[in-house]
């Protein structure tokens, strides 16, 4: 019986490494955002107000309607407020989420090279889907 460790597919390692390091980076962004949240005094998204409202059980619409923003923020709102702690925290999370796309594309390239064309194509379609979904909302 074979007792040697089988080789690990390079496409998997590429996928895993890209996501792993992007996620670690996004965690650091989120830590920075959290610290900023608590330190800023004059902001449209005050952290004390947000935490209180969430744990008091207020709905999403109520929370944002009575904030300085007046309406729920979307991805573009967060992008325009990146100097703000709350927006930076959401951006950090979004960065981790989006790390899937490059990981999929690089990994698909290696799958293609190893003659797994069908799965490489499904991977690229999935990667494209992951990139497009943030913008689908703005079409409606």
């Amino acid at each position: 019986m074979i007792k040697r460790r089988p080789p690990v597919p390079i496409s998997g390692v590429v996928y895993g490494e890209i996501i792993y390091w992007c996620t670690c980076l996004s965690a650091l962004l989120v830590v920075g955002g959290t610290i900023r949240c608590f330190l800023e005094t004059d902001t449209v998204m005050p952290v004390g107000y947000l935490i209180n409202s969430v744990f008091e059980g207020r709905s999403v619409e109520e929370i944002w309607a009575t904030s300085a923003l007046k309406s729920p923020p979307d991805a573009l709102t967060y992008l325009s407020l990146l100097h703000n702690g709350e927006a930076l925290t959401v951006a950090g999370i979004a960065f981790g989420v989006l790390s899937v796309a490059p990981a999929v594309f690089f990994s698909a390239a290696y799958l293609w090279r190893s003659k797994n064309e069908f799965l490489a194509v499904t991977a690229m379609v999935s990667g494209a889907f992951a990139i497009v979904t943030p913008f689908v909302y703005f079409l409606f």
């Binding site: 959290t34 799965l119 499904t122």
Partner: protein
């Protein structure tokens, strides 16, 4: 301890996160919250981080994703808005899987071909599910919330039953016949089984059925903010005949990918409150790394038993709250 020495990035993340929360606890004046035993906002964030760390280890080892523990418990035992819980639930479900992708792929425990086979149906299903959740909330408001709790209660009960029924039989499933479609797609793999100290080879079966089931799993995961790992493991293990450990690892990776589409409708509806989701995300990342390294040398049976009890209890509470909301009655459970 050896794990922390071997991985400087884990040390950095842990030091930064704990340092951040200690700094906030020490130097930042945070108001006490109403009805929360005199706790401040910072206290709650620190507690959330610790709970998330524990949930991440349990969920990675069990291969279910943290969302299946986080979302039902929060829906059952707190009054936080369901959309906020579900969006944070997706973050919880996702990030342990995202960060565990690295160790799982390095060790060859997760199967990248299965990940890409299942990715598209899960992504599509997850995105449609979360759009449906936002729409339901817009039309039904509080009644919609109660309906979500009741349905989720039933689903959790079913998940627990699935774990009981499927848990005993299939650590290394075997099939005499090979699937033609799986052979054409080269869906066969071999991994090193640490507990047996030898490689284990497997072939994949029932590809078409599994793809359809993964679409349904994606929808349910996106709709309830559960992720979907709870059902991906049974689909991979019971339907496709993939060994249990590979199923758990692949499920974590697939889940992370699938939820990357499902989270966007919530972000664009303002339902992801960064400061509330942040400690859960950080706990998932650090706990996910620890859990992923623990999985290689663990028998998952004990964790699964704990999970089954947890799922049944939460299911009971969710059903009670759902019925209370719909029929305006009081059911005294906990």
């Amino acid at each position: 301890m050896r794990l922390f020495k071997r991985m400087p990035e884990l040390q950095i993340l842990l030091v930064c996160t704990i340092g951040c929360y200690l700094f906030l606890e020490t130097f930042v004046a945070s108001n006490q919250l109403n009805d929360f035993f005199g706790l401040t906002g910072v206290d709650l964030i620190f507690i959330s981080f610790f709970m998330s760390f524990v949930v991440a280890i349990i969920s990675v080892v069990a291969g279910v994703g943290g969302g299946v523990i986080f979302t039902p418990i929060m829906l059952a035992f707190t009054s936080v808005d369901t959309l906020i819980i579900r969006s944070t639930g997706l973050v919880v479900a996702m990030f342990s899987g995202l960060v565990a992708s690295g160790p799982f792929m390095r060790k060859g425990l997760a199967d990248i071909k299965l990940v890409f086979l299942g990715a598209l149906p899960i992504l599509l299903g997850g995105f449609l599910g979360s759009l449906a959740a936002i729409t339901l909330f817009d039309y039904f408001g509080a009644t919609g919330d109660a309906l979500v709790r009741l349905t989720l209660g039933f689903i959790l009960g079913l998940i627990a039953i699935t774990f009981i029924v499927g848990g005993a039989s299939t650590e290394y499933p075997e099939h005499s016949e090979k699937s033609r479609l799986a052979t054409r797609l080269k869906l066969r793999h071999m991994y090193w089984e640490e507990t047996l100290k030898r490689p284990v080879r497997y072939d994949v079966h029932n590809v078409k059925t599994a793809v359809f089931l993964l679409l349904c799993v994606g929808f349910t995961g996106g709709f309830f903010g559960l992720g979907g790992g709870w059902a991906v493991v049974p689909v991979l293990n019971l339907v496709m005949s993939v060994p249990l450990k590979v199923s758990a690892a692949t499920s974590g990776v697939l889940l992370a990918m699938g939820n990357s589409a499902a989270i966007w409708p919530y972000i664009n509806a303002g339902a992801l409150i960064g400061v509330v989701a942040a400690p859960w995300m950080l706990g998932q990342i650090i706990g996910g790394i620890v859990g992923a390294h623990a999985l290689a040398g663990l028998k998952a049976a004990l964790v699964r038993k704990v999970l089954i009890v947890l799922l049944f209890l939460t299911s009971l509470k969710l059903c009670a709250r759902g019925i209370e909301g719909i029929f305006n009655v009081n059911i005294p459970i906990l």
